[in-house]
């Protein structure tokens, strides 16, 4: 089972399995253990998956989180894929899910997740991170908290520095 880091820096193990998008013409195979399936396929089979606490979804970096606007609260977990760590679309996706669509359950970063981006992910609303296996997970807690001060409001705070300075 893969190690997962949580936003407070603890390491946990769980058995969420990411199910890749089936090739064209193939049907989705849902495994017996808890599974993350492509978000559009969850929507297509909504009546089948609805209410199942062992089925979550994942969005790719080019997916539009708008598609989950009406249903996101009913999902136990949403994962966002970073196909390459330098693809920054996942940060906007995360903020939209949290701040616009009010998603409150677990939001996980998956894919090319490295140490030096963890704090940005945390600030944008991700609360669990599937670090790429070759990276040293013991360094994750420090990397989640390099900065004790930040300038902007984001998902993690409603108080940009200019508002904190005023108080």
């Amino acid at each position: 089972m893969p190690d997962i880091i949580t936003r407070d820096g603890t390491i946990k193990q769980d058995n969420w399995t990411l199910v890749p998008r089936p090739a064209a013409g193939d049907s989705l195979e849902v495994p017996a253990q808890p599974a993350l399936i492509p978000a559009d396929l969850w929507l297509a089979g909504q009546e089948h998956f609805e209410g199942r606490q062992d089925i979550g979804v994942w969005l790719d970096s080019h997916d539009e989180p708008e598609m989950l606007a009406e249903v996101v609260e009913r999902l136990p977990i949403v994962a966002v894929n970073f196909p390459k760590f330098s693809d920054g679309r996942g940060y906007s996706i995360a903020r939209l899910l949290r701040e616009r669509y009010g998603y409150g359950n677990e939001l996980r970063a998956v894919g090319d997740v490295l140490l030096d981006q963890l704090q940005f992910m945390k600030r944008c609303g991700f609360d669990s991170y599937a670090l790429r296996p070759d990276k040293d997970i013991s360094k994750a807690p420090r990397c989640l908290n390099f900065f004790s001060q930040t300038y902007q409001a984001a998902t993690d705070t409603d108080l940009p520095l200019f508002r904190r300075r005023a108080s």
Binding site: R95, D116, F147, R164, R165
Partner: protein, 550 residues
């Protein structure tokens, strides 16, 4: 100018510690080259042709004398004793060792300087007019807004991995634009609306590089309190929809063009409607707090010293020339804005030695309240000089090599470091600048030609702003040989325009003569009141072609 408080200092100290950690992991092989690349770029560190290059940020071009002295010391201790003023009002070191960079950043941090986001696919240094706050006619001082944007954009968690780099510029004059806002990713023109409220006209999608474009207006009036939420909306649309499949089509200008300016504006408005009242919305207090750092220095109550100055100018022709070219009017009676020319023939444009940095610092302390500004033309400004001390300042500047009275003339060349330093360059640019400066060494001739921007870039990335020069020179590579393509009619000002290519390119040794022929057409054809660009627009490119390729 802005002074750090404990929060700023804390953030910067943590940034230095972070980069030290990242550098150690990179040198230990825990970070691949690919993984380290954006981290080092966002700390200003490039790996160049012969050595690394460190680009140090000078927010909106302003520095204190203590910062100049620290830069001087760093160039001595870690480099070869000189630095380079860039076309984005920053400073570059050309020979630091990678393993020394964390120490250099720590030394910079002690004087509230850094290299944050001077490269990489993120929001870069926000720039403005080098005369900001000292000149007549500004809607308001633009620098507090630049500082507000600096703070908002520093380590913004959502926008650290954009499709491509992103540059913002602010201009506060309605009559002229020294900040070149229409060739930036976002250009903010400060204006007041009919009710007298302060705000911005917003241009998006200008830029140089491979696909030069003048940025269209996507919003006629943005109230000042909405500045950051609207920027956040633009950046979010760009972050989500800008192209990531092709580096050369990844700038926001390509997205704006693909969606049309109207289509892009609509997407931004929809996004903005959700976040305009979010906590990111500025408050009056927040703006006033930052404005409090940009108060006027302790000006004396003086008169415009016309009689004494007139006598000095009458008696000394060289001083008179320098006054005409390198000194500008100040909004406060009895003061003047002085520009130190870094364009002495034989010195690469923008290069400055450690000793010269210290001399500039001393001059700033003695003559201009201890502050300087760097210009995107790679010169240095003392913005608050007493008129009755101009003559003595001029006498000091001459021996230091800063009094060349060539500002805004043909030899005040904007020039990138080019093939002598830069790994990207197709061709050298510094020797071309020098050969043109040598050809046009007659000041009377230069003054007769008048204001003229000659800009040289060593490659398509256009760091030398060649697209927006009256005469633009672009280095190109043809089967391993360096050639130079000329464009005419560019402008980065109010009447922004992208220059048009004259024709086939030239060998380096032909360049002075080609420029001479172009100038010759202008001198033959101009009417008494016409600038180069006016004549060019009236007669078109053909007469220039005929003469040059005859």
């Amino acid at each position: 100018m802005y002074v750090y408080d404990d929060h700023d200092r804390q953030i910067l100290a943590e940034r230095v510690a972070q980069f030290r950690d990242q550098t150690e992991r990179a040198l230990a092989g825990e970070l691949s080259e690919d993984e380290f690349l954006p981290l080092r770029l966002q700390n200003g560190l490039y790996v160049q042709r012969f050595a690394p290059m460190l680009r140090i940020c000078v927010p909106y071009g302003m520095m204190r004398s203590a910062q100049l002295r620290r830069l001087a010391r760093i160039t001595r201790d870690y480099d070869k004793g000189y630095a380079h003023f860039t076309t984005r009002q920053n400073v570059q070191l050309n020979w630091p060792a990678i393993e020394d960079v964390p120490d250099i950043l720590a030394e910079l941090g002690e004087v509230e300087m850094h290299a944050n986001q001077t490269s990489g696919n993120c929001i870069r240094n926000t720039t403005t007019d080098q005369f900001a706050g000292a000149q007549h006619g500004e809607v308001a001082d633009p620098r507090p807004y630049c500082e507000i944007i600096r703070q908002w954009s520093t380590f913004h968690p959502e926008f650290a991995f954009l499709p491509r780099k992103f540059k913002v510029a602010v201009n506060a004059l309605e009559s002229t634009d020294r900040a070149a806002i229409q060739v930036h990713d976002i250009g903010l023109q400060m204006i007041t609306n009919a009710s007298g409220d302060l705000g911005f006209r917003v241009h998006v999608g200008g830029g140089l590089g491979r696909t030069p474009m003048v940025g269209p207006v996507i919003r006629e009036f943005l109230p000042e309190l909405d500045l950051l939420t609207y920027l956040e909306a633009i950046l979010r649309v760009y972050n989500r929809y800008g192209r990531r499949d092709n580096k050369y089509k990844a700038r926001i200008k390509i997205l704006v063009k693909a969606l049309t300016p109207e289509g892009f504006a609509e997407k931004v408005e929809v996004e903005w409607s959700h976040i305009k009242d979010s906590p990111t919305r500025l408050t009056r207090d927040a703006i006033e707090r930052i404005q409090g750092y940009f108060t006027e220095p302790a000006y004396l109550s003086l008169d415009n010293n016309s009689e004494q100055l007139a006598a000095q100018r009458f008696e000394n022709r060289a001083f008179d020339q320098w006054m005409s070219r390198n000194v500008d009017n100040h909004k406060v009676p009895g003061y003047a804005i002085v520009t130190l020319s870094m364009k002495k023939t034989g010195v690469p444009p923008g290069d400055v030695t450690d000793r010269q940095l210290e001399q500039i610092a001393d001059l700033a302390d003695q003559y201009s309240f201890g502050e300087i500004r760097v210009t995107h033309q790679q010169n240095v400004v003392l913005a608050d000089v007493r008129q009755d001390r101009l003559f003595e300042l001029w006498e000091l500047l001459g021996p230091l090599g800063f009094a060349t009275p060539n500002l805004n003339t043909l030899t005040d060349i904007i020039c990138c470091p080019g093939g002598d330093y830069c790994a990207l360059a197709n061709a050298k640019s510094i020797p071309v600048a020098e050969s043109i400066q040598r050809r046009f060494d007659n000041m009377d001739f230069l003054y007769d030609v008048g204001d003229l921007d000659l800009n040289i870039s060593g490659c398509m990335n256009a760091c030398g702003h060649h697209h927006v020069g009256d005469i633009g020179v672009l280095g190109v590579d043809k089967k391993g040989e360096e050639f130079y393509q000329i464009s005419l009619g560019g402008s980065s000002r109010q009447d922004a325009a992208i220059g048009k290519i004259l024709g086939p390119s030239f060998a380096q040794e032909d360049m002075p003569e080609v420029v001479e022929k172009i100038i010759g057409v202008y001198l033959d054809q101009r009417t008494p009141e016409e600038r180069f660009i006016d004549t060019y627009r009236r007669i078109g490119i053909e007469p220039f072609k005929e003469r040059v390729y005859a």
